[in-house]
Amino acid sequence: MTELADKHAAGLIEPRPMDDLDQLEAQSIFILREAYRKLRPLALLWSLGKDSNVMVWLARKAFMGRVPFPVMHVDTEKKFPEMYAFRDEYTKKWNLDLILGYCPPVEEIDPSLPPAARSAARKTAGLAKLIDERQFRGVIAGIRRDEQATRAKERVFSPRGAGHRWDVRNQPPEFWDQYATPYEDGMHIRVHPLLAWREIDIWRYIERENIPLVDLYFAKDGRRYRSLGDRDITSPVESEASTVAEVIAELETSRTSERAGRAMDHESEDAFERLRVAGYL
């Protein structure tokens, strides 16, 4: 420490060069701080998956170890038991202000959607209800551009009009880290701090920061979950990766897409986009 102090006194300590994860982290912190400043009331969507755990972690980075707004879990009641256990454990450990939302039964959802998309749309309806009840102006969600072509079109601050609709043809300009915050009654803004992250960045960051995850991501009997949704519409992939480092190694050679195990993405060409326009994540 003395040596450090001497160097410091001489102005010799230089900032550590930022690597790619440092840059992604700094940008996400900036976005979270913008949201906290500009959009009140604000909440963070915690799906219990790897991306939203990274997002909670980044919020703690942004606000010196705490999450100064509620986190929402919109429960389809069809998640894996491991996920519910994880939620209960880390709500306490991370001192989160947890809000639970519940989804309507599938019979109440648009019957013209293909079966898996219809099931996924329950979550959209549950989320919409919660946002309306709590009058949230900002909702932080952990989507990434590389997950899915429709998500690649997203803005960091993405306005949702009345009825929570996403007007993909008429999105605001967004540049130089300036985010538009239009407001009318019934409108909210989805904030996407992970938009620029890729799947492998998420895993490398989990490794670097030692962020806890649900075990389902790690291989048992030759299979693991690469993406976690409802039990009935998510399937595991073949994998031997049973640690974070092994998952990273696997991803570095993999060329299949992450959401391959998510049924609603593949039912028809436009099913996923229809879900998103209506407010799905």
Binding site: E14, Q27, R33, R37, P172
Partner: protein, 626 residues
């Protein structure tokens, strides 16, 4: 307090962030095809994607179309154009890139900026046969205004010229001349065919005369961004938190380096403080931070800066930011209505916000030949040089490519981004001119609407003299008041009795009368009031001016009473006087009345009571929430 004892930096090579590359160019010059080809030839396609392209192409009875990869939204395929920018990662050797695709369709300029603004380098795709087109010039100009440092030109479809050296060099010279006018130095010009793969990843056998790099080689040659840590320190304050009795000044360092013990100046007030701690959570404790880091500072004394205050070195006047209340800016205009002198906005620079008014439009860019010309307005998607006057001194670093200083953005009162305004420097005042620095309200339209229980709007009643505009307006005013809605009527004669007493009835004076009425209406509407204007306003151009001054809340109402009815009413005896030749230039008799083509409300005007009812109900529907 913030150290994480269990924190490890993994032992691996330092990975730099991916280099963003934007691909721009005129529609149909082959941008999307280029990206598909690039991803394919560099082995960057995910397995599912290639199958997706083949399947989509097959369904449409086409051979493999590389552009389908990007046109992943149904609506885009239906229109056959790329709607928005997308980002696609790919790798060349050890280096990661992110391709930003930007559309060529001109009304989608804002999407292109969204994609292009962070790019380190640009590939400008030009059809070798067609040469530079309107969007080529527009995109090139934008590359300059958003500060892209490296530009590579791809002369696509060179196969159509048979890769003929003479023809291609001619095309190259034309593009070079265009870019030179924009002070853009194109580092490389590559004759290529994206469709066939010539000079993309593989050297073309058909252009043996060409000795320069392939596109992939040119991209690999783009230097990484220069570190900004050696520059003078700048951190715009993003927010100030107080957690567990500790005050944190949060922000991202724009440039330079900050160390514990450094003395910094805070904003235009230049209070001085010393950095007591550089705070992070779950990161190794270090008493230093550099450009790009999002950190929090503890200051001694424990001052409370405002969001937007710029932190900079306290004792380095040579490298201090510029301080000026009048600034020159280059402008790219993104609103669907033109910009005119006198309009007010919020200017955002990083986290700071200033109330500004467009004091002058100094020059407008002609996109046909890229010349600067005088002009009184800036078209949507247009470019100009403007002077902005602020209510308080603006603290900024002049805009420079590759740095984040001076990145001004104009925001309207609905918090929508309407333009980019890179700040060039302080503006000199013309000799003898008196600088005005208007202030703007801090109460927004929603707050007014909440307080009053209704929205504000301007209803502009136009129609012949005697059509009943003022009568209907006054009755509607009373009806609205009875329902608890506050409305003001601005009618022609009342205005001319006071505010416009100096004006006569010449075309110039009538124009001025309308200009003043519009501004008064705007001021009232901005304070939350319902405004009913009753003015003959016979000329479409004058009403267009009124609409432009008032903005989005303008509703044109045509009181369409037949001339015979007006003339038979003749409440002021004006028709009789005009027929007798005692009033020259009387609307409807000796001067034209240009009826509105698309009024928001069309009233017959024959029956005063029915007309009033229709107006009142239209106003009520417009200003009351659903």
């Amino acid at each position: 307090m913030n150290a994480a004892p269990d924190h490890h930096i993994p032992i691996e090579a330092h990975r730099v962030a991916a280099t963003p590359i934007v691909i721009v160019g005129h529609v149909d010059h082959g941008k999307s095809s280029l990206i598909g080809r690039l991803l394919h030839d560099t082995g960057s396609l995910q397995e599912g994607k290639l199958a997706q392209i083949i399947e989509s192409s097959r369904k449409r009875g086409l051979s493999v179309e590389w552009s389908f990869l990007l046109d992943s939204l149904q609506i885009e395929r239906d229109q056959g154009v790329t709607v928005d920018s997308t980002r696609i990662p790919f790798r060349l050797g050890d280096r990661e890139f992110v391709i930003v695709d930007a559309p060529g369709h001109r009304q989608f300029l804002r999407n292109m900026i969204t994609g292009a603004a962070d790019a380190e380098a640009a590939v400008l795709v030009v059809d070798a046969q067609e040469g530079a087109q309107e969007q080529t010039r527009r995109h090139a100009l934008l590359l300059r205004l958003i500060g892209i440092r490296h530009v590579i030109v791809l002369l696509n479809k060179s196969d159509l010229l048979g890769f003929d050296e003479t023809k291609i060099l001619k095309a190259e010279a034309d593009v070079r001349a265009l870019l030179a006018r924009l002070e853009i130095h194109a580092e490389t010009m590559i004759p290529a065919s994206a469709r066939d793969g010539d000079n993309i990843a593989e050297r073309s056998a058909r252009a043996a005369w060409y000795k320069g790099p392939t596109l992939v080689e040119a991209l690999a040659n783009v230097p990484p961004p220069a570190p900004r840590t050696a520059l003078a320190f700048r951190m715009p304050v993003q927010d100030v938190y107080r957690f567990d009795d500790v005050r944190y000044v949060a922000g991202r360092i724009e440039r330079g380096t900050i160390r514990v013990g450094d003395q910094i100046a805070i904003g235009a007030q230049k209070q001085i403080a010393t950095v007591a701690e550089v705070c992070r959570w779950h990161a190794p404790e270090r008493p230093v931070a550099g450009a790009g880091e999002s950190i929090a500072l503890r200051l001694e004394p424990d001052l409370v800066p405002d969001r937007g205050d710029l932190l900079f070195p306290a004792h380095d006047s040579a490298n201090a930011p510029v301080r000026a209340a009048r600034v020159r800016a280059r402008l790219f205009w993104l609103r669907t209505e033109p910009l005119r002198v006198g309009e007010s906005f919020t200017l955002r620079i990083a986290t700071a916000e200033y109330d500004v008014t467009v004091a002058s439009i100094d020059a407008v860019v002609d996109l046909d030949d890229l010349t600067l010309n005088p002009g009184d307005h800036v078209q949507p998607d247009g470019f100009a040089e403007v002077t902005l006057a602020a209510s308080h001194a603006i603290l900024f670093d002049p805009f420079a490519p590759g740095l984040s200083g001076g990145r001004g953005v104009l925001v309207d009162r609905f918090q929508r981004i309407v333009g980019g305004a890179p700040l060039i420097g302080a503006a000199e005042l013309p000799d003898g001119a008196h600088a005005i620095h208007p202030t703007a309200s801090h109460v927004d339209a929603q707050a007014h609407a909440r307080a009053r229980g209704h929205k504000a709007a301007v209803f502009w009643l136009t129609g012949l003299p005697g059509s009943g505009k003022s009568t209907v307006a006054r009755r509607a005013e009373a009806d609205l008041a009875a329902r608890g809605l506050s409305a003001t009527v601005l009618d022609g004669d009342t205005l001319r009795a006071g505010l416009c007493a100096d004006l006569g009835f010449s075309p110039e004076d009538r124009h001025e009368n309308i200009r003043r009425a519009s501004h008064v209406a705007k001021i009232l509407a901005e304070s939350g009031q319902i405004v009913i204007v009753a003015l003959v306003s016979p000329l479409r151009a004058d009403r267009a001016l009124a609409r432009q001054i008032v903005g989005a809340d303008f509703h044109e109402v045509f009181v369409d009473t037949p001339l015979e009815t007006c003339e038979s009413r003749d409440p002021k005896g004006l028709y009789a006087a005009a027929r007798a030749g005692r009033i020259p230039q009387f609307t409807g008799v000796t001067a034209p009345y240009e009826a509105p083509e698309t009024a928001a409300l069309h009233l017959s005007g024959e029956d005063v009571q029915a007309t009033t009812q229709r107006l009142t109900s239209f106003v009520t529907r417009t200003v009351l929430p659903e």
